[in-house]
C-alpha cells in the first residue's frame, strides 16, 4: 500500500519538475524584457540619487584632508598619548610634509581643515612654512618651537591629532550643537554658539504647521472636487493646478508684492477699516506660512482627491440608514476611508516642506530660516562641505524616523479597502 502511494507521488512529481523548467524558460524572455524596461530608470536612480546621497552622507564624516596631504604625520601623531608634546619623529614628519604641501594646493586643504579646529591655524601654518630652515640636519622640535611657541603647546598638537583619523564625528556633533571637549567626551557647545537644534526644531515646526494648514484647507476642497459632477470638478481641478504654470520664484515674489506693508492686502484691510496701520505680513513667519501653503496645497489636494473619488457615497448613506447623524457618518465612515489619501498628502507636503529653501529665504525673516538655508550657506559661502553634509544627513535621519513612526501609526489604522 505504501509503496503504491510512494510510486504515485514520484511519477506525479517528475513531470512537475520538468514543467517548472519549461515555465522558467518560457518566462525568461519576459523577465529580460521587464529588466530592460526598468534599466534606464535604475541607472538614472543610481547616478542621480544613490551616488550623490551616499557621497554626501560620507562627507558628513569624511576627515581625510590632513591624512591625504600629510600621511606620515597623521600616522605618527595617532600613536601620541596626548601628554606634553609629541616626539621628534612627529615634528620631523610634520615639517617635511608641510614643506611638500605647498605643491598641488595641499596647504590650502589642510589649512581649511585645521581652521575648523582653531581659526588661527592657517596663519600659523603659513608663518611656520616661511620660517622653515633649508637644511634637514636640525632638531625639528627646537626649530618649530623657535618659529612659533604654540608648537610647544599640547592643545596645538591635540588639534592636529583630531584631524588625523579618516573619519570624524565633529560635523555631526556640531550640527547638534555638540562638540568633543579636550578630554574627548561629548559636551554641549557654549550657549551663545548654539544654533542648529533650534533650527531643526524650527524646520519641523514650520513643515508641520504648513502640512496641517494644507490638510485643513485641502480636505474640504478635495471633498468638493470628488462630489461635484465631472465637468465642474475638471474646471476646479485646473484652478488647483494653475499655480504649477508659474515659476516658484515668481509666485514667491508675488506674495512679497501682495503682503508688504504698502501691498494689496494691507491697503485693502486699511481701506475697510479693519486695521489702522499696516501689519507686518512678510519677512516673518506669517509670510513663510502664506507662501509655502500656497505652493504646497496642490500636493495635498491631488492625493486626497484621487482617493476620495474612489469612495462611493453609498457608504455614508448606509451609515445614515443605520442611524448615524450625517456628521457622524462622515467622520466615522468617510474620513477613515480617505486615510490613505491623508497619509500620502501629509507625508508628501511635510517632506517637501522640510527641504524648503527659496521661499523662506525670500519671504522669511532671519529667524525663519530652515535647515536647507544653512546647508546652502555652508556649500555656497564657506565651502564647508562637512557641515553641509552633516546638516543634510541629520535632516534625512529625522525625516526617516518621523516617516517610520507615521507609517506605524497609519498602518495601525489599517487601510484595508475592498
Amino acid at each position: 500500500m505504501t509503496s503504491i502511494t510512494a510510486n504515485h507521488t514520484a511519477t506525479d512529481n517528475q513531470p512537475i519538475a520538468g514543467l517548472k523548467a519549461q515555465l522558467r524558460r518560457a518566462e525568461r524572455m519576459k523577465k529580460i524584457k521587464a529588466m530592460l524596461l526598468v534599466a534606464p530608470l535604475a541607472l538614472f536612480l543610481v547616478i542621480a540619487f544613490v551616488m550623490p546621497i551616499s557621497s554626501m552622507l560620507w562627507r558628513s564624516i569624511d576627515n581625510t584632508e590632513v591624512g591625504s596631504v600629510m600621511p606620515q604625520t597623521a600616522a605618527a601623531i595617532l600613536d601620541w598619548d596626548g601628554q606634553g608634546i609629541p616626539d621628534e619623529a612627529v615634528f620631523a614628519a610634520f615639517a617635511q610634509e608641510l614643506r611638500e604641501s605647498r605643491a598641488g594646493g595641499g596647504l590650502g586643504r589642510i589649512g581649511r581643515r585645521l581652521n575648523y579646529e582653531d581659526p588661527t591655524f592657517r596663519s600659523l601654518l603659513t608663518q611656520t612654512l616661511r620660517g622653515l630652515p633649508a637644511t634637514t640636519e636640525v632638531t625639528w622640535t627646537e626649530e618649530l618651537i623657535g618659529i612659533n611657541a604654540r608648537w610647544n603647546e599640547t592643545s596645538t598638537w591635540l588639534a592636529v591629532q583630531r584631524t588625523a583619523p579618516t573619519v570624524t564625528d565633529r560635523y555631526l556633533l556640531a550640527a547638534l550643537d555638540l562638540e568633543r571637549a579636550e578630554a574627548g567626551q561629548i559636551a554641549k557647545v557654549a550657549e551663545n554658539q548654539r544654533l542648529y537644534v533650534q533650527v531643526f526644531k524650527r524646520t519641523l515646526v514650520i513643515a508641520g504647521g504648513v502640512t496641517l494648514i494644507c490638510l485643513f484647507l485641502g480636505f474640504p476642497l478635495a471633498y468638493l472636487l470628488a462630489t461635484l459632477p465631472t465637468s465642474k470638478s475638471n474646471l476646479l481641478l485646473i484652478c488647483v493646478l494653475l499655480p504649477f504654470w508659474t515659476s516658484l520664484l515668481v509666485r514667491t515674489a508675488a506674495w512679497i508684492v501682495l503682503l508688504q506693508s504698502g501691498g494689496l492686502v494691507n491697503s485693502g484691510l486699511m481701506w475697510t477699516g479693519i486695521i489702522d496701520a499696516p501689519i507686518q505680513l512678510v519677512f516673518n513667519r506669517i509670510g513663510v506660512f502664506f507662501a509655502m501653503v500656497h505652493v504646497l496645497l496642490p500636493f495635498m489636494i491631488l492625493p486626497l482627491y484621487s482617493v476620495m473619488k474612489s469612495v462611493p457615497s453609498t457608504y455614508q448613506r448606509a451609515a445614515i440608514s443605520l442611524g448615524a447623524h450625517p456628521f457622524a457618518a462622515f467622520w466615522q465612515v468617510y474620513v477613515p476611508q480617505t486615510l490613505s489619501g491623508i497619509a500620502a498628502g501629509t507625508i508628501l507636503v511635510f517632506i517637501m516642506a522640510l527641504g524648503y529653501y527659496i521661499t523662506p529665504a525670500l519671504v522669511g525673516g532671519p529667524s525663519d530660516q530652515m535647515v536647507s538655508y544653512y546647508v546652502a550657506y555652508y556649500t555656497n559661502t564657506t565651502n564647508n562641505w562637512g557641515m553641509a553634509a552633516a546638516l543634510g544627513a541629520l535632516l534625512l535621519i529625522v525625516t526617516l524616523l518621523l516617516y517610520m513612526v507615521y507609517h506605524k501609526l497609519v498602518n495601525q489604522k489599517q487601510l484595508v479597502r475592498s
Binding site: 462611493p312 453609498t314 457608504y315 448613506r317 448606509a318 451609515a319 445614515i320 440608514s321 443605520l322 442611524g323 448615524a324 447623524h325 450625517p326 457622524a328 457618518a329 466615522q332 465612515v333 477613515p336 476611508q337 486615510l339 489604522k413 489599517q414 487601510l415 484595508v416 479597502r417 475592498s418
Partner: protein
C-alpha cells in the same frame, strides 16, 4: 409593536409625486399600502421610478408632494437617520475599514444600546447568518455571498420595523443569487420581517414576494401576488414584462360577459377572456403564454384551433421552443416538453395549434 391594528398598513404612500427637474414626474400619484409582515417587491425597468420610491421611503429623496407614513408617523420631514428603517444596498456598502463584527455593532452603537445587550444581538445575528467564525474578518476577505449576508445582518441587527433592499443580489452570479433569494425569503418568514425589495429581475420578484408592484413610467401598473400577476396580467405592459408572451393584434367583435370574441389576422377569430373595459369594435392586443398553447393531437377539441407554419426549433434541454408564424406574426412561440414532441415534424411544416378561451387574454392595444 403595533397591537390590534393588523388591518392598518405599516407603510402608506398617499398621492406621492416626485420630480427632479420640475418638468417630468418620475413618480406619478403613487398610492401604495404595505402590511406588516409583508414582502413587497417593486419591479420595473430602469427609470420606472421604483428606486426613487425606495429612496423616498429611506429618506434620501424627498417627495415633491403627497405623504408617506410609517405606522402612525408621517415620514416626509423625518431625517433618514431617525427613521429606524434597515437598508441593504446594491453593493452591500459594508464599511471596508471595520471588521464584520464592527459593521454589525455600528447601528447598535449609534442607538447607544448597552454593550452587553449589543453583544448578545450581534452574536445572535451572526449565528442566524452562520458567519460566527468570520466575525473578526474584514469585508474584503469575504466572498460575495458572505458579504451579502453580512449586509443583510447589519440591516436587521437593530430590529427595524421595515427592511428595504435595493437590488441586493445584482452583483452575485446566477447560482448564488438563487440560493440567496431563498435565504432572504426564509429570513423574512422566520423573523416576521416587513420587506420592500427593489429589482428589475422578474423571476427574482416572482420567487420571493408576497406581492409584486410592477412599475412603469412612474406608475404602478399592477400590484398583485406573483401568481395573479403571471396568470392574469392587467394590461399589455405587465403581460410583456412578466414572463414570455405571444401577442396578436386584433379587433373586438362582440362582448360576452367575462369573455369577448376577437378577430385577428386574415379572417381568423378566437374567444378570449376580457380584461380591460373593452367595447365592441375597439382594437385589442391578445396575449397567450407559450406554455398554454397545445400542439397537433392535444389541440383537438379545443374551441380555438389554427394552422401555423413552423419556422425554427430551439432546444433548451428540458423543453423545446418552436418558433411559428401565425397571422403574419413570425415570432409566435410554442413551448413543448421534449418528450411530447412528434419526431416527424420538420421546419416548413404546417402544424395545428389551439388554446382554451380562458388562456388568451384580450388586453389594451397600446
Amino acid at each position: 409593536m403595533q397591537t390590534g391594528t393588523t388591518n392598518e398598513p405599516l407603510v402608506r404612500f398617499t398621492g406621492v409625486q416626485k420630480t427632479y427637474d420640475g418638468e417630468t414626474l418620475v413618480v406619478k400619484d403613487l398610492n401604495l399600502n404595505i402590511q406588516k409582515g409583508e414582502f413587497v417587491t417593486l419591479l420595473g425597468p430602469s427609470g420606472s421610478g421604483k428606486t426613487t420610491c425606495l429612496m423616498m421611503l429611506a429618506g434620501f429623496e424627498v417627495p415633491t408632494s403627497g405623504d408617506i407614513f410609517l405606522g402612525e408617523q408621517r415620514l416626509n420631514t423625518l431625517p433618514p437617520h431617525k427613521r429606524n428603517i434597515g437598508m441593504v444596498f446594491q453593493n452591500y456598502a459594508l464599511f471596508p475599514h471595520m471588521t464584520v463584527e464592527e459593521n454589525l455593532f455600528y447601528p447598535l452603537k449609534t442607538r447607544k444600546v448597552p454593550k452587553a445587550e449589543a453583544r448578545a444581538k450581534v452574536d445572535k445575528i451572526l449565528q442566524t447568518i452562520q458567519l460566527e467564525s468570520f466575525a473578526k474578518r474584514r469585508p474584503s476577505q469575504l466572498s460575495g455571498g458572505q458579504q451579502q449576508r453580512v449586509a443583510l445582518a447589519r440591516a436587521l441587527v437593530f430590529e427595524p420595523q421595515l427592511v428595504l433592499m435595493d437590488e441586493p443580489l445584482g452583483a452575485l452570479d446566477k447560482q448564488l443569487r438563487e440560493h440567496m433569494q431563498l435565504e432572504i425569503k426564509h429570513l423574512h418568514e422566520n423573523l416576521g420581517l416587513t420587506v420592500v425589495f427593489v429589482t428589475h429581475d422578474q423571476s427574482e420578484a416572482l420567487t420571493m414576494s408576497d406581492r409584486v408592484a410592477v412599475f412603469n413610467d412612474g406608475k404602478i401598473q399592477q400590484i398583485d401576488t406573483p401568481q395573479a400577476l403571471y396568470e392574469y396580467p392587467a394590461n399589455s405592459f405587465v403581460a410583456q414584462f412578466i414572463g414570455e408572451n405571444n401577442t396578436l393584434m386584433g379587433k373586438v367583435n362582440a362582448l360576452d360577459g367575462d369573455f369577448c370574441s376577437v378577430s385577428f389576422g386574415d379572417g381568423l377569430g378566437t374567444r378570449a377572456s376580457r380584461i380591460q373595459a373593452l367595447s365592441a369594435g375597439s382594437p385589442t392586443r391578445l396575449s397567450i403564454r407559450p406554455e398554454r398553447i397545445r400542439l397537433n393531437g392535444s389541440s383537438e377539441g379545443l374551441p380555438n384551433r389554427f394552422k401555423a407554419k413552423l419556422h425554427e426549433f430551439i432546444y433548451l434541454g428540458d423543453h423545446l421552443r418552436l418558433r411559428c408564424e401565425l397571422a403574419g406574426n413570425d415570432q409566435f412561440y410554442v413551448k413543448v416538453p421534449v418528450s411530447e414532441l412528434c419526431p416527424s415534424l420538420s421546419v416548413g411544416d404546417f402544424i395545428d395549434i389551439g388554446w382554451r378561451d380562458e388562456d388568451v387574454r384580450a388586453l389594451d392595444a397600446s
